[in-house]
Symmetry: C2
Subunit: 231 residues, 2 copies
DNA sequence: ATTACTATCTCACGAGTAC
DNA sequence: TGTACTCGTGAGATAGTAA
């Protein structure tokens, strides 16, 4: 889309950095070459091409040469900048999983009903989950990868606790939608016996009833994540 | 500075735009090639190189290939983005002039003492100027160019007026510093007899006295301008 | 010291094609 | 359909050098 040649971007950026937008800045091709990690000859060619394309103006005052960026040059850089910015920001704010429903009761079902957890669910998620988890077997490797990548996203942390006899590990909750309809939370347990290909979900409702599906049915889970903003 | 090859930037940006940051996104090399206005072969090579450099991960699930950008890939793009951003923002927020002081009284001195102007100076600049302007002859062409480029910057506008006999043109004022010490305003007159190589300044003080200089002395004038921010 | 020409080289790209 | 090899071409780099 940009008419500006890719190889000229760094050169123009360097001129901006040197303050050449509004003032004519004295510059030598050899120093410019060093700045862009290219040869003096390359810098010279860049300046010639940038000039003939109307992105910069040059002024010879005796032996010295000064350079200033034109409005066109500024506009072009802004265009590229905006394109990059929107690319970096446009990525969707969810992580998606596809898999099939397995076994009625996950290992989590029992633990998730313990008071040490339900009290926290009530205050942090806003509800006490239906006693029973939805277990989904992920079929493709990409979704197993996606599960691992959840770690980089902020989660609602439900802390572990002890009942005097033993301790129970933390639970990370990721608010999610099942089949784009039912609100739920994907949970990652500190201590799990599942392999990586199974995800477990809790919800206020009985999810299987709500979506009218049972073991073997295919489901889609979408976890919303905050896209990181550019600093 | 970035290790990422220049030619890969657009490819990586396209992957970002397709949402490949957190999810594995299915993509064909031919569609990617079209998006980046290159051939299928080029896109294929880009993906291979990006992968071996650790900027993306690829996953083959049967016939389909999915791509996800790694943390390293994200970091690298952010780095480039930040570099561009700071380049565009770093340009100095002033326009500088160098020249020598000429003739004691500029043509402006008389007009600038007229009540139609001084009333406006008082309200818009905050003071009534010393009766006498500082005239500076610019020696290099770059400064004459810089003078012309002042037009793109916002100025304090002092309107013209009529005294019944004749009309007097507007005056554009650009707050400035003389030799980095004395506060003044560079003035551009609607009607001037000067050629482009002379700039005129007004100030609350007698500038020549303040900086202890006289005709023939070299001075530096700095006009502050608002750098345009990126949208 | 500069800038920028000419010659040379390297490697990114696209064409053709195997799988 | 796909991906990715080899190979030829040329844009863009550097080296040498003139002005």
């Amino acid at each position: 889309m940009p008419e500006l040649k890719l190889q000229h971007i760094l050169t123009l950026a360097e001129l901006f950095a040197k303050g050449a937008r509004y003032n004519f800045i004295p510059i030598t091709t050899s120093s410019l070459g060093k700045s862009i990690h290219k040869s003096q000859q390359a810098a010279s060619k860049h300046l010639l091409e940038l000039e003939s394309d109307g992105y910069i103006e040059r002024l010879r005052t005796g032996p010295k040469v000064s350079v200033r960026i034109t409005t066109k040059g500024h506009a072009e850089m802004s265009k590229i900048f905006s394109a990059l910015k929107s690319s970096l920001e446009t990525f969707p704010s969810y992580v998606e999983f596809k898999g099939v429903i397995i076994s009625g009761m996950g290992e989590g079902a029992y633990y998730m009903s313990m008071k040490g957890y339900t009290k926290q669910f009530k205050s942090k998620l806003g509800y006490i989950p239906f006693p029973g988890t939805l277990n989904v077997k992920l079929k493709d490797r990409e979704f197993i990868e996606a599960k691992r990548s959840l770690d980089v996203h902020p989660a609602i942390m439900v802390n572990g606790f002890s009942d005097g006899k033993r301790t129970y590990g933390w639970v990370k909750c990721y608010p999610a939608k099942v089949n784009n309809i039912v609100d739920a939370a994907l949970i990652l347990l500190e201590r799990t016996h599942h392999d990586d290909s199974i995800i477990e979900l809790i919800s206020k409702e009985n999810i299987k009833k709500s979506i009218k599906l049972s073991t073997g049915s295919q489901v889609t889970i979408r976890v919303n994540v905050k896209p990181k903003t550019i600093q």
